[in-house]
Symmetry: C2
Subunit: 417 residues, 2 copies
């Protein structure tokens, strides 16, 4: 690597700090240089900068105002891990300044925000990549590999969920400054769709020969948070009497142009074990994350699960089907190595001034689900249309297709999808 | 038992024969007498009658015309296990003759059919019980028990599916006389909702303080059957060029009056392991059939499944929470003893001239899902209203409530729900 990529980190709360200590600081010995940290709560930005210094690197510039970073004009890239509702304003500001954006995940609040990202990209040519780490998960990439090999036959249905008990995190209360809290208080929607949708969209070739056409969402009643608060907090707590808008379970069904259905579940306020419930159903075989199992036509017996015969058999398929990225690299850091993977993919694209593997069209296609599910729920489950953000380019996107299957050993990160 | 219950069996195909040999013939030494067998294909009725005779009981009367059985006027009850589309005509005919009906499961083709059953019951007072065996499943009744004990907290969401690879059965072809074939060829809907919905409806007190309010359904493309036919049948087969209307995966979401959501999946034409995917989500705990596991708040760790820690732990809860029916009886015969259970429940109600535990309102509430899902899919996933078949009685059904929680040891079968 000849020249270091100079980048800034916007948003130094739990997620920003997790990226920093888990992956970014170790990566500083590679080809990147963290020049600036920024958070509206300046103490967080300061702590982040000090952590960099303590690791033996130059202390980054610290600010509470992201516009200062644009004004300084010395960044090659920016990573945005601030609160969901600030993502689009900050991302478009950097894109207009010609600085490529790595955008942490989060749902959109309106279609307008999604179009802003698309329009800004099309006007400036500056890329925006959703840092959807789950697109790089070990199983997710293994399934991508297997789907492309044809071993599962034609894929007709996928499912996934953000099934993660967040009651403790959400009800840490306003004093924790956690943006999730106000979302749960005020909105009722699939507020966090990208972890499960990203990998599914990649294997269904969404925006590249296929597209999401419509969705409908349905919310259960909201009971989990209130009961949790009653059980765990003091009776004089100011959270005790709050009514949360967010239903405990939100079920969303998406229809694709090529006939597939995708079922998403948001499930964050009831007791349960963590699972993204990644499910891939083909005419020749299926994968079920909940049991980490494959079922192949003609190979397995349909009553074999009864005796737990298949539970956990996916590990046996790794030797043959593990994705090249997971063979060539041994990722360290947060979320089982997925953070390492997605950040390398981002900086790889920045260095090569290439279209990132999750481009602006993918980014908004995944993010828009939140805004649209909110509309569908408000309309009693009415299906709503998902815009074609590519504006007709999805059925023949040659910029993507050219690199789609050409997994270059030297450039593995930005050309795999 | 003083007097034998004289009953007839209408429909002696695979299901009727399964009931006969698995449960009904062994029950003939108890309080029932099979007087007549009937099938439009007379050879089937004859075979069934001969099986009874071979078992050492008087040979039943054999006919191809169910109206003959009504004309003879000597039956106390009838079991209908004919093709789905004949259920309502035959059931209402017997009800009008004052003969209580045990109706095998199957979805409705129209709301009109559902109302016919309700109106016939209300005009005649003759009961009709859906023989939904899964309401009597070991796990399903255990969950009913646990939900009523409060150990799972408030239930906010349930899910279930008919997830059973039927490709071989369906494509046996028209020569097998299998009614499923024509359904898959011509309809696109949740064609078999009652196995999963029945037990869920019972634990959510549907028609007894709660009710199903609306649903929306979404179908994937139809690929499984065609690919199966291409792979398995001769190229000159007359099935080879058929186009099936039925989508491979149908996802349905139901909303309840008390805020719960129910997600149903029809999944019968792709390779997979059998599962009814029974899932119960409460504010204090959850059950997941796919891993046969419970997760209790404060007791289990949310990342414990990762190491397969919880897979299969449900068996550990049986000692404490098994339903009384499963403690008191050791059911033999088809479908893991569920057929034995449901038939005993039916004949118990007939003998006592009591309202059956799955009454006509429950019957049509479960059956109507097929007709309504067909409408919703035809309308692109538009939500459709589920009628209140009780006509306002659901929020205060005292006939049900009186016996609801009074599990009488002497009358265990017809008073448990």
């Amino acid at each position: 690597m000849n020249k270091k990529i100079r980048f800034g980190l916007i948003g130094c709360s739990k997620r920003g700090t997790g990226l920093l200590t888990g992956v970014l600081i170790p990566m500083l010995e590679e080809n990147i240089l963290l020049c600036a940290t920024c958070d509206k709560y300046i103490d967080r930005a300061e702590n982040a900068a000090e952590a960099v210094e303590k690791a033996g690197y130059p202390k980054p510039f610290v600010t509470a105002d992201y516009k200062e970073l644009i004004a300084k004009g010395n960044l090659d890239a920016v990573i945005i891990s601030s609160s969901w509702e600030t993502h689009v304003e900050i991302a478009t500001a950097f894109m207009r300044a010609g600085i490529p954006v790595g955008l942490e995940v989060g749902g959109a609040y309106s279609l307008n925000d999604c179009w802003k990202l698309v329009n800004t990209y099309e006007e400036t040519g500056t890329h925006c990549m959703l840092l959807e780490n789950c697109c790089y998960g070990k199983r997710e990439l293994m399934l991508l590999n297997m789907v492309r090999s044809g071993i599962l036959g034609e894929i007709v249905h996928c499912a996934g969920g953000y099934q993660h008990d967040l009651r403790s995190e959400i009800t840490g209360g306003p004093e924790t400054k956690h943006y999730r809290f106000l979302n749960y208080l005020n909105r009722n929607c699939e507020n966090y769709p990208t972890h499960e949708l990203g990998p599914i969209a990649k294997l269904l070739n969404i925006n590249n020969g296929n597209r999401l056409v419509s969705l409908a969402s349905f919310a259960s009643s909201s009971r989990g948070l209130n009961e949790y608060i009653q059980k765990n907090l003091k009776s004089d707590d100011r959270l005790a009497d709050l009514e949360f808008a967010q239903g405990d379970i939100v079920t969303t069904v998406i229809k694709c142009a090529k006939g597939q259905t995708i079922q998403l579940t948001l499930d964050t306020t009831l007791p349960r074990s963590y699972s993204r419930g990644f499910t891939v159903r083909g005419t020749a075989g299926s994968y079920f994350e909940d049991t980490d199992s494959f079922f192949f036509d003609g190979e397995h017996d349909k009553f074999e699960f009864n005796g737990r015969g298949l539970w956990g058999n996916a590990a046996e398929y790794e030797e043959k089907h593990l994705h090249k990225l997971w063979r060539n690299f041994d990722p360290k850091g947060g979320h089982d190595g997925m953070d390492w993977m997605v950040l390398h993919a981002f900086f790889d694209a920045v260095e090569k001034k290439a279209k990132p593997p999750i481009d602006v069209y993918d980014t908004v296609t995944y993010m828009c689900i939140s805004a649209l599910s909110e509309e569908s729920i408000a309309l009693g489950g009415q299906p709503v249309a998902i815009p074609d953000f590519t504006q007709g380019k999805w059925y023949r996107r040659t910029d993507l297709c050219e690199t789609e299957y050409a997994l270059d050993q030297k450039q593995p990160f930005n050309e795999i999808f």
